[in-house]
């Protein structure tokens, strides 16, 4: 198991805790009943749906476990997890079918 430098780790934990709380508090606490500009709400709506795929896409195409070589079981598992999520709208079903694909193919091809 790799070790994380404790100072780095606690900086991340405290920073995220304070930052996340601030994001949640800023409107309900400070803004109160005043209306919000529509352009701001419009951008906020698409942040999660942009940042999560951007985080994942390079990992799927160049997985770290295979030293950056595209890898059939990982690609297939990614495709299954994404497709099942799109079709069923069920996160857990997508995780389990994706994991089953990964381990099934690693077993068959390994």
């Amino acid at each position: 198991m790799n070790q994380v430098d404790p100072v780095t780790m606690w900086t991340i934990i405290v920073g995220l805790a304070v930052g996340s709380y601030t994001l949640r508090f800023v409107f309900i606490g400070f803004v109160g009943d005043r209306p919000m500009p529509p352009w701001l709400l419009r951008h906020l709506r698409y942040t999660a749906v942009a940042i999560l795929p951007a985080l994942i896409a390079p990992l799927v195409v160049w997985p770290s476990a295979t030293a950056g070589q595209p890898d059939a079981p990982r690609m297939a598992a990614a495709a299954v997890a994404l497709t099942v999520g799109l079709v069923t709208k069920n996160v857990l079903a997508a995780i389990f079918t994706g994991a089953a694909t990964l381990y099934g193919l690693l077993y068959l091809l390994g």
Binding site: M9, L16, V31, R45, A50, P58, A65, A81, V84, G98
Partner: protein, 238 residues
Amino acid sequence: MAFTTSKSYFWKGFRDGTPFIFVAIPFGTLFGVFATEAGLNIVQTMAFTATVFAGAAQFAALQLLQENTPTAIILVSALAVNLRMAMYSASLTPYLGAAPMWQRAIAAYLTVDQSYACSIVQFEKEPDLTIPQRMAYFFGSVAPITPLWILATYMGAVLGTRIPESWALDFALPITFLAMIGPMMRTLPHVVAAMVAIVVSLLTVAIPYNLGLLIAGCAGMMAGAQAELMMERRKANA
């Protein structure tokens, strides 16, 4: 309907929020396992899960940590994942903004996907609710998942120390994220935002410090907002 007191609204919220325990328990357990695999000790894992209290951002931070990303980039990226909480906060403000400050301060901590989803539906359906009734419903809707999320993380962290390295857990985290992305594709602008973010993230992968992630995230966000505007204009012209 005899839901007149705040107490009965708490229990109504509790019932509406209960199905989410089937999400919170497995997710909490997964986070505990991944955090342990990433090298966090049990105190760090528990502090993380209890104070940040937002699954997707926690998973994102872990993934970037394993890629040796600079701390500042980890913080900005994980907080970007949590920007939707600011949107929830903004959207709940017209309904809860008049409550006492101490209640709003607690409500802010408990603003998560599940409590927001339950509450906004309920508040729009019954616009005549009083502020105490709304607050009671909101707190009720997160009451089932909060303790179970923390407990499940603890179980996962204990379990994580016993999982052998040969289990290919490197890819369990990407699978978890991909599984979350599917159900987010509710409208065409959501799909546009995700597609643009994916393309830009692949093009910018050579930029150091994982800065490409932030560039791709911004590009996707702006693309989604523009797509929404274009669709609205088209609807107005039709």
